[in-house]
């Protein structure tokens, strides 16, 4: 691993060519400035965040993660960050947050534990970090194993040209004999309606009412109920028609001064008699 080699001593080209030179800042000679103050590049793209960086640094200890020296790991991380800073690198915030936390952890690990501290002990924090690293490493390990399995579509294939299973929807129509007959009957009756003639309703025309009223009123000298002037018979519709036209006829007679009208109460019977002196 090259991270032990101070970058200023390392051959930048050799570092760039080595796939393991992930953590060594190198001078970017392709940068726009190109001069001594040119942009510096650290191969941070090789990491998926600070935890990944920590994990890769931990691997350089070449021991089981369970036996790793957290203090040494913290130092490695802080050294890396310092290197990056020395080269005036912009580091993403989460790398710096991790650095600050690790610096705190380091101080906690080095100082004697405070009495009746409610905070988790430095050892607990270290163990937590360790577990986190183990979890990530374990997931990476099984992910690789998962991907290495015989995969459908790559290593094992389904049938290349399956005939396919079809579900054929067969339309079944629903219609009863009654609906059929009813429909036919409706057409036949509607056929009659095609030569549509509105029915002549039985009506008592205004002319007829006037004529009847003029004929009958001559015989009355008393106030007489309007209803008694209505023609006999007919159905309800006819009677309504007769009432309406007879009423209009009385108004006409009153207008002409040939009859007097009176009503004793609202909606009460309407009385009429021949006007005196006619």
């Amino acid at each position: 691993m090259t991270n032990a080699v101070p970058p200023e001593q390392a051959d930048p080209e050799a570092i760039a060519d080595s796939p393991e030179a992930f953590d060594a800042p190198v001078r970017d000679r392709s940068g726009a400035g190109g001069g001594d103050d040119g942009a510096l590049v650290v191969r941070l793209d090789a990491y998926e965040g600070p935890l990944d960086l920590l994990l890769q640094l931990a691997r350089t200890q070449k021991v089981d993660l369970a036996k790793i020296s957290i203090l040494a790991l913290v130092e490695q991380y802080l050294a890396f960050i310092n290197e990056a800073r020395r080269f005036k690198l912009e580091l993403a915030a989460d790398y710096l947050v991790m650095a600050a936390w690790l610096a705190y952890l380091k101080s906690r690990l080095l100082l004697p534990p405070e009495k009746d501290d409610e905070e988790p002990s430095a050892e607990e924090l270290a163990a937590r970090l360790q577990l986190q690293l183990q979890r990530l490493e374990a997931i990476r390990d099984v992910a690789a194993r998962l991907l290495g399995r015989d995969r459908l579509g790559r290593d094992v294939l389904p049938r290349g040209a399956p005939e396919g299973l079809a579900i054929v929807k067969r339309a079944a129509f629903d219609c009863t004999l009654y609906e059929l007959l009813k429909a036919y009957a409706d057409i036949r009756t509607k056929g009659q309606a095609a030569t549509y003639q509105p029915r002549r309703r039985p009506v008592w025309s205004l002319e007829a009412a006037l004529e009847r009223l003029e004929r009958l009123i001559g015989r009355t000298i008393q106030w007489t109920d309007l209803m008694s002037f209505l023609p006999d018979g007919g159905d309800a519709d006819f009677r309504r028609s007769a009432l309406a036209s007879t009423f209009v006829a009385t108004l006409e007679m009153a207008r002409l001064g040939r009859a007097d009208l009176q009503q004793l109460e609202p909606f009460g019977p309407l009385y009429l008699k021949k006007r005196e002196g006619e």
Binding site: P158, F173, C175, T189
Partner: protein, 207 residues
Amino acid sequence: MTLDPQHLRMAEAILFAATAPLKDSEIADRLPDGADVPAILAALADQYAGRGVELVKRGPVWLFQTAPDLAFLMRKEVDELKKLSRAAVETLAIVAYHQPVSRADIEDIRGVSLSKGTLDLLLEAGWVKPVGRREAPGRPVIYGTTVEFLAHFGLESIKDLPGLEELKGAGLLEPQEVSLGEAMGVERTVPEDVELELPLPPEDEEG
């Protein structure tokens, strides 16, 4: 002659995964040199004979296919119950009572033009079929009902359809109060309906 069982397995997998039928030579390309491809394929076809899947040769190419006698399994028919539209029921009734009828006859009787889908639907249902052409100008196709029609409606013959008198007796032919709106086709929003001319003399108004 003994064939390498591994060669059989390989040919089997290759043919199974192939997206198109393969020639002997295409299979040979993937098998180890010296494999007796014709013998392998013959042996494989033998092993599959009588199974639900068969290895068959079609001209120069080989393919797996499901056994022809099981083709019915590949299609599962599902009944989908559909209600006939009002127009379809009426059209069906007209065909039943007036057969053989042309499209124009149906339109005449219903008083509205017939949308294309209506007759198609009845043909699809298998209740109506073309029975010939009328010897008249344009030689229009004429339609009648089918045996399936009789079966569906439980009729022995078309003569079993109740006549007008019987319909009347059943109360189905009661003269209807036809509202002005109905007569004018107001309730119908279907564009196929022709508009009725207003037959209303002004003195008919009751106001």
